[in-house]
């Protein structure tokens, strides 16, 4: 299909790249311009903790080479920031005053770190992790430091804590909630993960907050809510991310937690689409719209948005909260509704905790369907759990073998059902 459209993609990470490819699958000729504030080839923030740990070299962080853009016949503007978006005129204004018109635009600007108000810690000075520059700054600090404090035991905080520990620093994690990784793991699972962190020599302080930072001659002196004081060479703030929506606040586009989009990932302005960490889209469960800052979600949304932008109608299946986490050779993942304890009668929870072997398995089932799944150090493949939840396959085999060979039960269910599913799709296509 040749649409002859002029498309603009703001953002050059997973969502933007997935959209670019799905646009080109449909229309090989339309004009596409990508605007990114980065100065060079794209990389994923997900890989930065490994970069800090020294597990990957900088040149290997690149998601795509420059030749990718010429292969895709797309022009890319590096180091340019969008200041304003005007859906009425169908025009974007860049920071240097240049204007760029469009037929359709995709907002895929990701998210920015939240810096809570803490006395003695200005928003500008606060150390966060989002870009390669941030990562390099942390690496530079790590070279001359002995002790680091990380505020927030979410995924980023936990991963950077691990990276710095691997570099030989003393690390202290401070978490506001009563457990680590509060959004993904329940108390039992979190305590196993915390145990492994403690074994590795990382100090974890829970239910406590940083309230003041005082700059000393050699080190920072931090005061916590409980009155405790700790000294550190540097402090990283990793309390969470928020959608990067500043530049469209004046555009009249509806914004909730993130940019609100419909099932086609279209915002309240029909020519503007949004995908990835910045978007607030339909959730997989229920009717609500949620912000889901994960790579998989960015790719899924990017693909759907790209197709819709060139007129191939596709509906988004819904964001499924999930994450996988490899720490010191241990694997933990959680997919879907993972925090439920089964207090509601309609919800069935199967749980097996093995503190000695530091392993854990938990399934959440409603109406005979799997809706949530948490595993620590299990053989079950995370992708199979996701397929089960997304497809709503029957869980009988899995429930029956919950206490013994759960991995095989998952694999069997998926083999039997995906075979059927492929056959059904083939028949549909033949018709």
């Amino acid at each position: 299909m040749v649409t002859g459209k002029e498309l603009v993609i703001i953002g050059n990470s997973h969502a933007g790249l997935a959209a670019l490819q799905s646009i080109r699958d449909v229309d090989p000729k339309c004009s596409i311009t990508i605007i990114t504030r980065e100065e060079a080839e794209p990389y994923s923030p997900t890989s930065l903790a490994a970069f800090i740990a020294g597990e990957i070299r900088e040149e290997n962080l690149k998601l795509k080479n420059l030749s990718f853009y010429s292969d895709m016949n797309a022009s890319i503007l590096f180091g340019r920031q969008v200041e304003d978006l005007n859906p009425k005129e169908k025009e974007t204004t860049l920071a240097d005053g240049a204007k760029l018109g469009y037929d359709q635009v995709l907002v895929a600007t990701g998210s920015v770190p939240i810096v809570p108000p803490i006395s003695g810690l200005s928003k500008k000075e606060a150390l966060t992790l989002r870009t390669v520059e941030d990562a390099k700054r942390i690496m530079e600090l790590a070279k001359s430091s002995k002790k680091a404090v990380i505020i927030g035991a979410g995924l980023i905080g936990m991963e950077v804590a691990m990276s710095l520990r691997k570099r030989g620093l003393d690390v202290v994690l401070v978490e506001k909630e009563k457990r680590v990784l509060p959004l993904y793991f329940d108390d039992d699972a979190a305590s196993i993960i915390e145990g492994i962190y403690r074994e590795q020599g990382i100090k974890v302080i829970k239910g406590n907050q940083l309230i003041d930072v005082e700059k000393g001659v050699n080190a920072q002196r931090l005061s916590l809510e409980s009155g405790d004081r700790i000294e550190a060479d540097f402090t990283l703030v990793a309390v969470g991310m928020r959608p990067n929506v500043e530049f469209i606040l004046n555009s009249g586009i509806e914004i909730g937690e993130g940019v609100l989009v419909n099932e086609r990932l279209q915002t309240s302005a029909p020519s503007v689409y949004a995908a990835g960490d910045v978007a607030q889209a339909k959730g997989f469960f229920g009717d609500g719209r949620i912000v889901t800052p994960t790579v998989l979600n960015a790719v899924n949304q990017g693909k759907v948005a790209g197709s819709n932008m060139v007129g191939q109608a596709k509906e988004f299946e819904g964001s499924l909260p999930m994450n996988i986490f490899n720490f010191f050779g241990n694997v933990a993942f959680s997919i879907g509704i993972s925090l439920s304890e089964g207090k509601d009668e309609a919800v069935k929870v199967l749980k097996k905790i093995d503190k000695e072997n530091q392993s854990f398995r938990k399934l959440v089932i409603t109406d005979g369907k799997l809706v949530g799944c948490t595993m620590i150090n299990q053989l079950v493949e995370a992708g199979l759990c996701q397929a089960m939840i997304r497809q709503g396959w029957e869980v009988d085999d899995v429930v029956e073998h919950f206490d013994n060979d759960l991995a095989s039960a998952f694999r069997r269910t998926v083999i039997n059902n995906s075979g059927k599913e492929m056959k059904r799709q083939r028949e549909e296509e033949d018709r």
């Binding site: 070299r57 995370a382 497809q391 995906s418």
Partner: protein, 454 residues
Amino acid sequence: MTISGVRLKENYIRIHPEKCTGCNMCLYACALKHTGDTDPAGSRMIIVPLDGEKKGYVPLNCLQCAEPYCTEVCPTGAITRNRNGIVSINDDKCIGCLLCTLACPYGGARLDAQANMSMACDLCNGTPECVRLCPEGALEFNGIENVRLQLENSEDLMSKGVPLCAGCPAEMSLRFILRVLGKNTILYVPPSCATLTITGMGELPSCKIPSVHGFLTNSASFLTGVSRHDRRAGRRISMVVYAGDGGTADVGFQSLSGAAERNENIIYICNDNEGYMNTGVQRSGTTPYAAWTSTTPYAASPIPAATGEVGRGKRQAAKEMPWIMLTHGVPYVATGTVGFLSDLELKLRKAMATEGFSYIHLLNPCPTGWGFLPEKTITLARMAVKTNYFPLWEAENGRVRITVKIRAPQPVEEYVRLIGKYDQLDKEHLQELQRQVDHRYKRLQTAASVDRFF
């Protein structure tokens, strides 16, 4: 969820679960190859015991999806499809974040605990150990890479460097054909683009087997004589004509038709680029409907039509040579392209084994005459098949079989929009072309559904 990501794969291990006895040999083979130790924990493959009504085992492995989801979610771009068409993980880039294991709905990627990175089957880059060592034959390796490996040791019978246009598939396909047919071949090339591939540029020919550059009209009758002499002398050499579409469908047709009717021992290969391409892109009998050539221009074209056909490209539909040859009652007829080499290889081997006349019709997209960039030749050869514009089929003794079935054919528009000669095609003519494609495919399906076509 991309449950349907698996289609039109180039390389994969075909699993026959009914033959698997669960002996775990594949796991040991895989672990040994990748970790240097037979501990099955290092195996990329796993064996799943079935339970319930169907007892047995199913080996589970990376499916080498055509559109792999894992390559898109990898945060360092570590998973890519390499030059050989194999999806694999680059160890220098993998950081062990395991997002690929979360994305893959088939359990193809897992944690390699030893290396603390992701692992997935890489088909041992073309020589899978598990397939080699499976004692029950439950694993079978399929794909283009397999063909390359088989032909790796066979000699390239053409010189390096050939004076054809950049991206010309006539040279690619002839080089491949001669690799499959081998040295025991005599080649006849009538005047056509491909002439240059045998005459060479200087004093020496660029073809290393006996080859003849003859007249345009008598390819088949010339080789009739040579092949009859060959049989009388008690030899059996493959007699191959490699002619253009003009030399086949138009100028050379009467001698071809005669040789086919007499069922001579000839392999006749038509290099169909849909026109007289080396003399200035004139129309031929196989030029498709509505296509531009210098003698079937569009109204706006600055070159007046010699034939007086002014307007919207060629008015007539293309002659269907494979069907014409099939109705001659010859023992073997097939279609092929450079886009599907493993398919073409099999067909060439069948033609070699055929007692009597074989006809193979190759669609060779021509960058110069059709108007597309040289690097798109293979893409176009594949798109022609994916849109059913040029379905791949064969007929052995009249039994018609579709050899590459396309599950979800794309509209022919997806093919023609890539080609310059259809640049001015309007909706009405496009619909007519689509109608012709549908009609022909339906006829092919009907022919394939009957026991014998003749």
